[in-house]
């Protein structure tokens, strides 16, 4: 691999990625000027700012041709995960449905941080995860599926893509990462399902359809499903109201980020996450048991098991697994390092 410099200025070469530490000037990473002009926060002193390389950079990169192909395969899997439909994916989603801009986009949960912050302890499954296990989680929950095996070609390709995007970023950075995740705006005092519903019809239904099923056209899911069998299941991170609000505020409507007020983003998130979707793979038959076991680490932030006021429906009180049927994601509930827990 071409060695990379971490400096305050950009080199004139075809740099695969640029990573800068504290005290940066705007000119040093011109790629993010547009974001700041659009209203995103400017990078703060002390933040790690990383501009992931693009597929065009990959073409120019001085790396082994087979590595290029493998990274490209990862990119294809990331942007067209539907090719694994019926094998690993059992809903209508692609990784890039939520990780916008091919997984490079700040404030849209860019995926390269996973490559430099893992292995680490993960609250969700209460043990140390590496990058592949993190990706496996996305298959089990967001894709309502079952992951490719650790070490398989597909898993290698996906991790290679994540790592390629992290080119030049320091391993285990001790700084906060600019643009990481779907940062939620401050939660307003009250959330309104009715307001969310009305706003959805006005702002979102044009793409995501009245019933939240998205739009399928000529063999592709143009706009993803937000709820129902085509969408992520109850175990996916985005069912948490604050995560959904962060996604919506920073990315929606498509092409018009930051156009909704904080209240609007939260109301929409509340509405969207109180619609039905396939069951959480950790379900053992009892909603209260799931809340007991996974409330503290996860579902305290979602509407799982809550009763909707307007129709008395208890959310997630069902055994609908969606298209997956009785396929069980092999990675869910598998403990690690049990000997360390003595």
């Amino acid at each position: 691999m071409t060695p990379h410099k971490t400096t305050l200025g950009r080199t004139a070469l075809a740099v695969a990625g640029a990573t800068l530490a504290a005290g940066v000037s705007m000119a040093a990473w011109a790629e993010y000027e547009t974001l700041v002009e659009m209203g995103y926060p400017a990078p703060q002193e002390g933040e790690l700012v990383h501009v992931p390389p693009t597929m065009a950079d990959l073409e120019q990169a001085d790396i082994h041709p087979e590595l290029k192909q493998v990274i490209h395969r990862g990119y294809e899997l990331f942007t067209d995960t539907q090719q694994l439909r019926g094998k690993n994916v059992f809903n209508d989603m692609n990784c890039s449905s939520c990780h916008l801009g091919e997984g490079r986009q700040p404030f849209s949960a860019p995926v390269w941080p996973a490559a430099v912050t893992l292995p680490d302890f993960r609250g969700k499954n209460q043990h140390v995860n590496n990058l592949e296990e993190r990706i496996a989680g996305c298959f089990a929950y967001s894709m309502n599926g079952t992951p490719p095996a650790y070490g398989s070609d597909d898993m290698l390709a996906l991790s290679a893509y994540h790592q390629w995007l992290a080119t030049g970023a320091p391993m285990y950075p001790d700084q906060p990462i600019y643009g990481r995740g779907f940062p939620a705006p401050e939660r307003p005092e009250s959330l309104s399902y009715a307001r969310g519903e009305a706003l959805y019809a006005e702002q979102c239904a044009i793409c995501h359809s009245d019933d939240g099923a998205g739009l399928y056209q000529d063999g592709e899911y143009v706009f993803p499903a937000l709820w129902g069998d085509g969408s992520n299941n109850w175990g996916a991170g985005i069912v948490r109201t604050h995560t959904a609000a962060g996604f919506i505020k920073n990315n929606m409507p498509l092409g018009q980020p930051l156009s909704l007020s904080d209240q609007q983003a939260w109301d929409l998130a509340y509405y969207m996450t109180r619609q039905e979707r396939p069951q959480d793979p950790r379900f053992t038959g009892d909603v209260d048991e799931v809340l007991e076991r996974f409330g503290a680490t996860f579902h305290k932030n979602s509407s799982y098991g809550e009763v909707r006021e307007h129709d008395g429906h208890r959310l997630a009180d069902h055994a609908n697994w969606g298209e997956k049927g009785d396929v069980v994601p092999w990675n869910v509930g598998v403990p690690r390092f049990e000997d360390l827990k003595d």
Binding site: A56, G101, C207, Y216, D218, E220, L254, E323
Partner: protein
């Protein structure tokens, strides 16, 4: 899972489309009646609905194969002044609601025709056009055209018309109009927001590349 297919070429029965708010209720259109009512349209849009790329002038869009509901909306918008065009307003005003539905049905079921205007574009410009059309340029927050205009940019539902295989001059004119604000009948300013981030070169690039995309009829 709900799977919805849009039969783009069949304009005989206009549906509400999948879009939530913006597509107004349409009357059923009859293509045979529409052919009659389209007598005045063909002078510019041609008998086969192919339109014409007019270099340095006002291009007339291909109408053949566009979604009927989209064509109808544009005609209603021209008539009501929601979309401004000196050439189109008098023609749209000559049609009543039924004729609009019929004419839209007629053009939508005509076989796709090839576009012009992208022949002279150089390699670099076309590469930029392809980039924007298929992957976008997220650093400039230009979402790819296909994100909304569908696979192959051949359209998504009836709200987002196909733009592949459309005359370069027409696409350019529309993008510039959105940039300047002289066209604003797109739902929720979805197109305007994107157009405003495009450079002049971006507009020429994407128009040339899309014009070069030959699309087979359904």
């Amino acid at each position: 899972m709900r799977t919805v297919r849009i039969a783009r070429g069949l304009g005989l029965l206009l549906s509400l489309g999948l879009a939530g708010g913006q597509v107004q209720a349409q009357q059923a259109g009859d293509a045979a009646r529409g052919q009659q009512a389209a007598a005045t349209c063909v002078a510019c849009h041609q008998a086969d609905g192919s339109g014409m790329h007019v270099a340095g002038g006002e291009s007339w869009p291909r109408l053949a194969g566009l979604p009927a509901a989209y064509i109808a909306k544009q005609l209603h918008d021209f008539k009501a002044g929601r979309r401004q065009n000196a050439s189109m307003m008098p023609f749209a005003s000559m049609l009543d609601d039924q004729q609009i539905a019929d004419v839209a049905a007629y053009f939508s079921q005509l076989p796709m025709t090839d576009a012009q205007g992208g022949e002279a574009a150089d390699e670099a410009l076309l590469r930029r056009g392809e980039q924007l059309a298929t992957r976008g340029d997220w650093d400039a927050y230009i979402v790819s055209c296909k994100s909304c205009h569908g696979p192959g940019n051949q359209g998504a539902g009836s709200t987002f018309p196909g733009i592949a295989n459309q005359h370069a001059g027409y696409i350019e004119a529309q993008l510039r109009a959105w940039q300047k604000g002289t066209r604003a009948n797109d739902p929720q300013n979805l197109m305007g927001a994107i157009a405003q981030r495009m450079s002049d070169r971006d507009i020429r690039a994407v128009s040339a590349w899309l014009a070069n995309q030959s699309v087979a009829s359904d």
